[in-house]
């Protein structure tokens, strides 16, 4: 992750004009919204969309190629892959959101503290972030899994902590930029107290890009979590988590392509759709530049 370019920001009172924003929606973006919408509904109300119980074993129907009855085929235990992809959305989305939330919380604390504090504290926090940076995310995640054992919580913590330093550095940069901006200086000149300036001007303005980070981060966290689950270090089977499905289907890759393709597509589409939406939000915030 590169250090983010500092976005010039205006006063916090600027609001995004939603109706105006939607006018600029391209078909690709509409598709992205549709995909994310589908998976969000899947996560919230899977029973509404899934034709079968995702755990329902039916040995006679094992490894069936896609048919009308099972549009995405069945797995080695005869479970319906479509239903599993739909139910898997909940777990994957939960891991993605929770990991990103954790990551941003850590990043906020570190980034804001570094940005607002004096040179010495800033230096200490920066070195700390750099040390974290030295560990590739996957390695850090592997460390967590080894120490705490595989499972949903470990996965969330591993991905959350692993991706935090990148965000922390971005937030620090943002805080620094806002701190030195004209309107903060003006607020100071007007006699506003420092805590008030921080509360009213610095934080709100520095935090705006977080909306973008959050959107991009969820997609990224889902990919990380799936990757770890694929290595057998995530959620245990028979969970329909997407990465776990990829791992379980790996053995059958030469005989039953749908076991890899279907959950794989779910991961790819969902991550791409979130990225597209994230970029769109980013452009809106930056004043409609393309």
């Amino acid at each position: 992750m590169s250090a983010a370019p500092i976005t010039p920001v205006g006063p916090a009172t600027t609001r995004v004009d939603v109706s105006g924003a939607l006018r600029g929606v391209r078909p690709g973006l509409a598709l992205a919204f549709a995909i994310v919408g589908f998976f969000v509904v899947s996560a919230l109300l899977p029973a509404l969309l899934a034709p079968y119980d995702p755990f329902d074993v039916n040995l006679r129907d094992a490894l069936q190629a896609p048919t009308l009855a099972h549009p995405l085929g069945t797995d080695q235990s005869g479970r319906d892959v479509l239903s599993r992809v739909i139910y898997g959305a909940r777990e994957s989305l939960y891991i993605g959101l929770a990991a990103t939330a954790l990551s941003l919380t850590i990043a906020l604390v570190l980034g804001v503290a570094a940005g607002l504090s004096g040179k010495f504290t800033d230096g200490v926090i920066n070195r700390f972030i750099e040390v974290l940076f030295a560990f590739p995310v996957l390695l850090l995640a592997l460390l967590f899994v080894t120490v705490f054992g595989a499972g949903t919580t470990t996965l969330i913590v591993a991905v959350g902590v692993g991706t935090a330093p990148g965000y922390a550095r971005m937030i620090r940069g943002q805080v620094l930029a806002v701190k030195n901006s004209g309107y903060v200086e003006a607020a100071g000149a007007l006699g506003h107290s420092y805590p008030r300036i921080v509360r009213r001007h610095i934080l709100p303005n520095a935090m705006r890009p977080l909306v973008v980070l959050l959107t991009l981060g969820v997609g990224q966290a889902i990919v990380w979590a799936s990757g770890l689950a694929f290595l057998g270090l995530g959620v245990a089977p028979p969970s329909p988590e997407w990465g776990a499905q990829l791992d379980a289907g790996r053995t059958y890759i030469t005989q039953a392509w749908w076991l890899e393709v279907m959950p794989g597509l779910a991961i790819v589409w969902f991550a791409l759709a979130l990225t597209a939406i994230g970029r769109w939000i980013q452009q809106r915030l930056e004043g409609g530049q393309r």
Binding site: P5, L216, V223, T251
Partner: protein, 554 residues
């Protein structure tokens, strides 16, 4: 701001995976793939590239994976052929005293270890003493003969005498396994550390180098003169060596065979079995001993009640679950005590605990576990939750895990809330799941060429500690005495009856519920001839193997 850089490559990777998966099914024409090379005369030279699965922590030791490796560089005293028959190997003949306690082995003269030292009676004696020395203990050797061993003596250069504390009928079968390979005392004197990586035997191959995580390089022993009587030829191996590769991922392993990277592979993925049969020479060995079973915890939790254990057996269609998960390649083994290929196996128990959910429900009712509306049964406010632990990965295959998931679903139907816990190889070997607190049921096996394995698995205590192999923690003096008596009986009919009685107790008490057999399967390219699987443990044998010339003299 940009998209985080890591996302794109990962997304591409996922997309690539997606494309790679679209290969579809292969459909080769039928026929015998090896027909063109049948009857070819042996040709010297070449190195066999062999794709194995599990990599053990040391090249010698008590795990069956170590026996497979030891077979390549060491010889045992005897060899076992089908039906438990024993033939000469390092020992050309043997006799036993009338009280069945003293065994005298006559050794083949002129056999040398590959470090040049002689393989004589004194060397055999040193091996027995090293196996049973607490500092260099081989746990499997100890499990077989620890309790029976009294002393050993070198009467002269070629006569070795083994004295037992009591008669032990399975002795020769036990000695035929790779764990009992005779190693060079000169090398053994250098300690377990050195012998872990550089053991020296008298076998057809020499360990040249072990590249951990990758492979073992074996080279031919040019002076080999001690092949077992059941070998296809005497004298040195035909090939120059073996590259024994560790390919843990079964898709990769099979791919290495289809792409020509490997000449032969171990454990053919069951999903590729049909394809392999059409393209390669395929052989399968059903491993005798304790099959893969559920050991039910008889001292803690719901399975302390025999009725609940029996209900667990009836609750799931284990046969269908196994056959479906293993694509009908690996056989179901309903008898929870012994694998169907073990001598003295009781066929009458093959259908123990057939699928009968009504009976399971009735047994649970009787045991006081009542339905409460939410699907999970309850007794005294406690839910019928059971923790099923299975050693995943190297010990328990992906297909095995699928079978467990199939069973888990059916257990749910009768009111068990079964949780599956996948234990890693290191967790299993470090003993994390070895106490009554750590599981309600665990899947386990113990490969062995004799029904004498029952004593290893079911006795309550060893001389100085609880028996770690009794993973049901089951204590039944009648069972223990029956097996002990069978082990010391040399009348085959009486012995068979006693082993049968022991199997019946284990099955009736539902201390273990059968699942499937361990197997060794090999798929080799058609031009690689005469690779075979020996009969004590399913160890692959490469001493007779050779690469036939194209268009050989068939």
């Amino acid at each position: 701001m940009r998209t985080p850089k890591t996302l794109l490559p990962l997304a591409l990777l996922a997309a690539g995976l997606t494309l790679a998966a679209c290969g579809g099914n292969d459909s080769a024409s039928g026929g015998d793939p090896g027909a063109a090379f049948a009857g070819a005369t042996p040709v010297k030279g070449g190195t066999i590239s062999y794709g194995h699965e599990q990599e053990p922590p040391c090249l010698i030791g008590g795990w069956v994976q170590q026996a497979y490796i030891e077979r390549q560089f060491a010889d045992s005293l005897v060899s076992q052929v089908k039906e438990g028959e024993i033939v000469p190997w390092l020992a050309t003949k043997w006799k036993v005293s009338d009280d069945q306690k003293t065994w005298t082995f006559t050794l083949k003269p002129g056999v040398k270890f590959t470090d040049g030292t002689p393989l004589n009676a004194a060397a055999v004696k040193t091996n027995f003493e090293t196996w049973l020395n607490p500092k260099s203990l081989n746990p499997t050797v100890d499990a077989y003969i620890g309790e029976y061993y009294k002393s050993s003596k070198a009467l002269n250069d070629t006569t070795f005498e083994l004295t037992l504390t009591k008669p032990y009928a399975p002795l020769l079968s036990a000695l035929s396994q790779g764990y009992f390979g005779i190693l060079s005392p000169k090398q053994l004197a250098k300690g377990p550390q050195v012998n872990c990586e550089q053991p020296v035997g008298s076998g057809p191959f020499i360990v040249k180098k072990w590249n951990r995580g990758k492979n073992i390089e074996f080279v031919k022993n040019p002076n080999y003169n001690s092949a077992p009587a059941n070998a296809k030829h005497q004298g040195p191996a035909y090939v120059d060596g073996i590259t024994w590769k560790f390919l843990g991922d079964q898709t990769v392993r099979y791919g290495s065979l289809t792409s020509g990277e490997s000449n032969v592979i171990y454990n053919v993925p069951t999903v590729n079995w049909k394809d392999a049969k059409q393209k390669f020479e395929v052989q399968q060995y059903i491993t005798p001993g304790r099959p893969v079973t559920f050991s039910l915890n008889t001292v803690k939790g719901p399975f302390t009640d025999k009725l609940v254990r029996q209900a667990f057996g009836y609750a799931a269609d284990r046969k269908a679950a196994v056959e479906s998960a293993f694509n009908d390649v690996i056989p179901y083994n309903g008898n929870g005590a012994l694998s169907q290929s073990t001598p003295d196996y009781d066929k009458g128990l093959a259908d123990a605990y057939p699928y009968d959910p009504e009976k399971a429900a009735q047994l649970l009712d009787q045991a006081g576990w009542k339905e409460n509306g939410d699907g999970v049964r309850e007794k005294d406010g406690k839910k019928l939750t059971v923790n099923l632990v299975y050693p995943a990965g190297a010990v328990f295959s992906a297909e095995g895990a699928t079978a467990l998931q199939n069973i888990q679903e059916q257990l749910k139907q009768v009111g068990f809330d079964a949780k599956l816990t996948a234990a890693t190889q290191s967790e299993v070997f470090s003993g994390k799941y070895s106490t009554p607190d750590s599981y309600d049921a665990i899947t386990w096996y113990w490969t062995s060429p004799t029904a004498g394995v029952l004593y290893i698995v079911w006795r309550q205590n060893l001389k100085d500690r609880p028996n770690g192999n009794n993973s049901s923690f089951y204590n039944n003096p009648t069972l223990e005495n029956t097996i002990e008596k069978a082990n010391s009986t040399l009348d085959p009919a009486e012995q068979k009856a006693l082993y049968a009685k022991a199997q019946k107790i284990i099955v009736d008490e539902a201390a273990a519920i059968g699942l499937y057999t361990q197997t060794t399967s090999l798929a080799s390219e058609p031009k690689l001839r005469d690779v075979w699987i020996e009969n004590s443990q399913g160890e692959p044998v490469f001493h007779d193997a050779f690469f036939a010339k194209e268009g050989g003299d068939s």
